[in-house]
């Protein structure tokens, strides 16, 4: 049986839907005691990865395990892992309480647990109503309630904030953090870093089915670099002068400007002055987490000629 470690391990996971490669050689682990964000733009392969982890989709290759075991070897999976998935369904003509009682018996927990989780997600008063009449946010709360039925050690949530009102999001955020603080494991996906930034400790960032970054959010924050955009009279001369001054992170932008990372505007201007290069314009920009996320996920990470920042922001919004 499973080892009770609360560890999620994804190893060289690949999924091919016909000619579409949804997930490509993805690897990461999620440890208990923290909330891990699983981030990437739409179509990055998040849902497919989580569904492979939960035994709903068969991987083309690679493995995904919870507590050291593939999903179907967990024995009583409902007591080990709870999941909130996109497009997880409800019978429209079944009441909330009955829905939960159905799955309470499947998991093998007492019926009282159904009312307990309804209370936990704030749906006690709607217990006797058919789920078909619920709003999107209420259904999302129902999905969370269903996931919590078996008092699981591991929670997997696929874009759970969709449809939730601000109060619901705040509740979920607190809930997940305290859940993790109890030494349990939380993996939560989102296409918006901002949405989970305050909730997660670790992040796995994926794009086009591949891992782009995997580690503590703190490290990512430290990567936040200042960039200086300078419009010199002679790009070549300024670049040479900057390299001599030990600045290597230079990029020439298509519009003739030079993007310099890791220094401030004053340093660039002083260097230009010493090299006898005129500066027609200079701008300093601090890339925030969201921009780093965008750079990671748009596959234009350092080394390639990126589009100007402004354009990126436009594309992001």
């Amino acid at each position: 049986m499973h080892d009770g470690s609360g560890l999620i391990a994804v190893q060289n996971l690949t999924k091919q839907f016909g000619s579409v490669t949804a997930v490509q050689n993805l690897s990461f682990t999620v440890s208990p005691g923290s909330v891990t964000g699983f981030l990437g733009p739409n179509g990055a392969g998040k849902t497919t990865t989580l569904r492979m982890l939960l035994g709903l989709v068969k991987p083309t290759s690679g493995t995904a395990t919870i507590n050291g075991r593939p999903f179907h070897q967990l024995g009583r999976p409902g007591r080990v892992v709870g999941a909130v998935l996109e497009a997880q369904g409800f019978h429209p003509n079944r009441t909330a309480r009955n829905h939960l009682r159905v799955y309470a018996s499947a998991i093998g927990v007492p019926d009282a647990q159904a009312d307990q989780v309804l209370g936990l997600v704030g749906l006690s008063t709607a217990a006797g109503r058919n789920v078909g009449g619920f709003s999107l946010g209420m259904k999302q709360r129902m999905a969370v309630a269903t996931a919590l039925l078996g008092d699981p050690q591991v929670l997997v949530l696929d874009e759970p904030a969709n449809g939730l009102d601000p109060e619901g999001i705040a509740w979920l955020r607190n809930f997940l953090q305290s859940f993790a603080r109890m030494g349990r494991t939380v993996l939560i996906s989102s296409h918006l870093l901002a949405e989970v930034e305050q909730t997660v400790d670790q992040v796995v960032i994926v794009s086009r089915g591949q891992t782009m970054y995997y580690g503590p959010l703190e490290h990512l924050r430290q990567q936040q670099q200042r960039r200086v955009f300078v419009q010199p009279s002679d790009v070549g001369a300024l670049a040479t002068a900057l390299r001599e001054a030990g600045v290597q992170a230079l990029e020439q932008l298509p519009d003739g400007r030079l993007a310099v990372s890791g220094v401030d505007a004053k340093q660039v201007a002083d260097t230009a002055l010493r090299a006898g290069v005129s500066v027609y314009g200079i701008q300093e920009e601090q890339a925030d987490l969201e921009q780093i996320f965008f750079r990671l996920t748009s596959g234009q990470f350092v080394g390639h000629a990126p589009a100007p920042y402004q354009q990126q922001q436009g594309g992001w919004a």
Binding site: L54, P77, G89, R94, T95, N98, A106, I107
Partner: protein, 291 residues
């Protein structure tokens, strides 16, 4: 496993489908019973009338021993089991449609466990529908025919047995097909069309093209109809005295057992169809990516 069976049972009792389909089932059973009883009575009265006395004598008919009402029972059961068939078809197709299948698979040790629990629960429902069908068919016959027209206790027991068996098998055939074609509307329309229209046309085509009559008994509806129809004919013949061979042929066709094998063999043939549908559906559901 007990937990999963309870969960599947709850799924069926917490929505209205079971009684929404039970109502037409009961109405058809009752209507079929009434009609069978009336038909039987009409035949007996016709053959007993002075005008037909000569004909009866010529044919060796002893009207009071011809339990014509029996022959409609097989037909009635066959028609009424369309509803448990639909009930079964929606077991998995419905869950795929509402996407509760995701939660079902997430809370079961394996898909095989979930499917097995479903199979047990739907077999139980098949039996419940079957009991309702034979009960109301019998009620209809009792209301419209004379005691001489009815089978004895053993005969009723036998009819009840094949009716329940037929209903269970039809339900499971539906479950299998619903897993194979997990689209509620699609699979229901297909099944209704097949059992009411397509196979009848196929049977007619086979008969007209000179294929041996017994081929019909190997088709899905031909075999499941034969399971109940053969028993009805057997019970009829047991009391009817000498019936000419040509007469037996028409009796079987009338009872819905035309070309069918003995009741138990017909049951086994349909069981093979159920196994094929279930096996296919099982394979599909254990492999399918739930996205």
């Amino acid at each position: 496993m007990g937990d999963l069976v309870q969960a599947e049972l709850r799924k069926t009792t917490t929505t209205t489908l079971w009684w929404a389909l039970l109502i037409p089932t009961v109405l058809i059973a009752l209507g079929g019973g009434l009609l069978s009883g009336l038909t039987g009575r009409t035949f007996v009265e016709f053959f007993s009338s002075s005008e037909a006395e000569q004909l009866s004598d010529a044919l060796g008919v002893t009207p009071d021993q011809w339990k014509f009402s029996l022959l409609g029972i097989g037909r009635t059961i066959n028609l009424a089991t369309m509803f448990p068939l639909i009930f079964g078809a929606l077991a998995i197709a419905g869950e795929v449609g509402t996407r509760t299948i995701t939660t079902t698979f997430l809370t079961a040790p394996s898909r095989v466990h979930a499917m097995a629990a479903k199979m047990m629960v739907y077999a139980l429902w098949g039996a419940i529908y079957g009991l309702a069908i034979i009960g109301f068919t019998a009620l209809g016959i009792v209301l419209t025919s004379t005691s001489g027209q009815m089978p004895d206790a053993g005969g009723w027991a036998m009819l009840a047995l094949v009716c329940v068996l037929s209903s269970i098998l039809m339900t499971l055939f539906g479950v299998g097909l619903g897993a194979l074609l997990p689209n509620s509307a699609g699979v229901v329309v297909l099944l209704i069309m097949y059992f009411l229209v397509i196979e009848n046309a196929l049977q007619l085509g086979l008969r007209l093209s000179g294929v041996p009559e017994t081929a019909v008994g190997f088709l899905p509806n031909g075999s499941v109809d034969g399971l109940t129809g053969s028993v009805a004919v057997d019970l009829f013949l047991a009391d009817a005295g000498v019936v000419p061979e040509e007469g037996v042929y028409w009796l079987r066709v009338f009872a819905g057992a035309g070309g069918a094998q003995a009741w138990w063999l017909s049951g086994l043939i349909f069981l093979a169809w159920v196994a094929a549908a279930f096996g296919g559906g099982w394979a599909r559901m254990t492999q399918k990516d739930i996205t």
